[in-house]
């Protein structure tokens, strides 16, 4: 039970300290003496101590898209369990009821387009550039969603999305459509910034979970590298020089 909670937290991108605190609090609330755990980026080893006997189990964590609302629901469940201790049925029912709360595609795709367009506006692009960025980022986001749904590896999804974004954004260079082409190019791929893994890795490393921090940092760096690979491929194909 506790190990299931911990695995879900790890999969959906919670911070290590939060994982450890929440699982030990939940364990104590459910009647264990204490919970000890060790974390590595792809698995969890967790021991529950009840009186003198102890049970140790290992779980593999699979890669999932980051989903903060699931993390939030688990936090709520744990606090409820602390208020009503030893009520295992209740926690089980609550865990079975967790839902992903995914935003619908028609909402998220234009929103991401608008975000990247706002980025380009902040960097000082003109209105034609604003429009192209909007189109490029929207198409990129729909490509990313479509590929993720077909269970491609996250790294391939990143590279391909960056490729498509750059292809569309480089329209800005043709026929002098926009005078600020390089801003358009740089802001249309901003939807691929792996902000959460970077910040999580920093938080982990600073709080004493060095191996988790390194693992997440390497993952984020790999994503960035793959995205830049996609950009370079597209630019090499078109011979765009960038300024």
């Amino acid at each position: 039970m506790v190990v299931k909670v911990a695995t879900m937290l790890l999969e959906y991108g919670a911070e290590s300290r939060l994982i450890e605190q929440l699982s030990s609090r939940l364990g104590v609330a459910l009647g264990c003496t204490s919970i000890e755990m060790s974390l590595i980026p792809s698995a969890i080893v967790l021991t529950t101590l009840i009186g003198d006997s102890s049970v140790t189990s290992t779980r593999r964590a699979y890669e999932q898209p980051i989903n903060m609302s699931i993390v939030h629901q688990i936090v709520t469940i744990c606090i409820e369990a602390e208020q009503n201790p030893r009520d295992i049925m209740r926690v089980e029912r609550a865990l079975a009821n967790i839902h992903a709360n995914a935003y619908p595609g028609w909402l998220i795709i234009p929103m991401i387009g608008l975000s990247c367009a706002a980025f380009s506006h902040l960097q000082g692009a003109d209105w034609a550039g604003f429009f192209i960025t909007f189109v490029a980022a929207s198409v990129g986001m729909s490509v990313r969603r479509e590929l993720s749904r077909r269970n491609y590896s996250l790294l391939i999804v990143f590279a391909f999305t960056a490729f498509v974004c750059t292809l569309i954004a480089s329209l800005a260079f043709f026929e002098g459509f926009s005078t600020t082409g390089h801003i358009v190019l740089s802001s249309s791929v901003l939807l691929l910034v792996p902000g959460f893994p970077y910040i999580n890795s920093m938080l982990d490393a600073f709080k004493g979970y060095i191996s988790m921090g390194w693992g997440r940092w390497a993952q984020a760096t790999l994503m960035t590298l793959m995205a830049s690979l996609g950009i370079m491929l597209a630019m090499g194909l078109l011979g765009v020089q960038g300024w």
Partner: protein, 154 residues
């Protein structure tokens, strides 16, 4: 007039904060706070840069501010802190610098290393890396303070 444009820029910065919050599947009730945080951090950074502070220092101060605010918000609404803070610092990410750095790297590969390209590569790269570190330090600082105390934040 200047204050008007600062305010407008801050409002523009709220849009990416919400957009990225949606990629991370933030619960619906937290979205307005992400927007407010994004606008606040970007506006604060602009004001500080107006006061002739360097971009790294003002980024650091803005990130620390949102980190402290995030502690209060997370306590009141029972939410892990990164939900608010990560979405709010997204508008400050140095995308253009990193991009320029990469471009000069590619050109160094195709045209050979020249002084202009090398200096541009180092300059932009240093900017991007130091801004990233400023953001990370700013966010970590408040939680470092709270880990000194024994009881958890939420």
């Amino acid at each position: 007039m200047e204050w008007m444009s600062l305010l407008l820029d801050a409002l523009w910065a709220a849009i990416p904060a919400v957009g990225f919050a949606m990629i991370f599947n933030v619960p619906r009730s937290a979205l307005p706070f992400c927007a407010a945080g994004g606008a606040l951090t970007y506006g604060l950074r602009d004001v500080l840069m107006h006061a002739h502070l360097s971009i790294e220092l003002s980024t650091f101060i803005a990130a620390t501010t949102i980190g402290i605010i995030g502690v209060f918000w997370s306590r009141r609404y029972v939410m892990p802190r990164p939900v608010y803070t990560v979405a709010s610092i997204i508008p400050m990410i140095p995308g253009t610098y990193a991009y320029e750095m990469m471009i000069s790297l590619v050109r160094m590969n195709t045209e050979g290393v020249s002084d202009v390209l090398l200096s541009r590569f180092i300059e932009n790269g240093l900017h991007a890396v130091s801004i990233l570190f400023a953001i990370a330090f700013g966010l970590v600082l408040p939680s470092m303070y709270y880990t000194k105390r024994k009881q958890p934040i939420i």
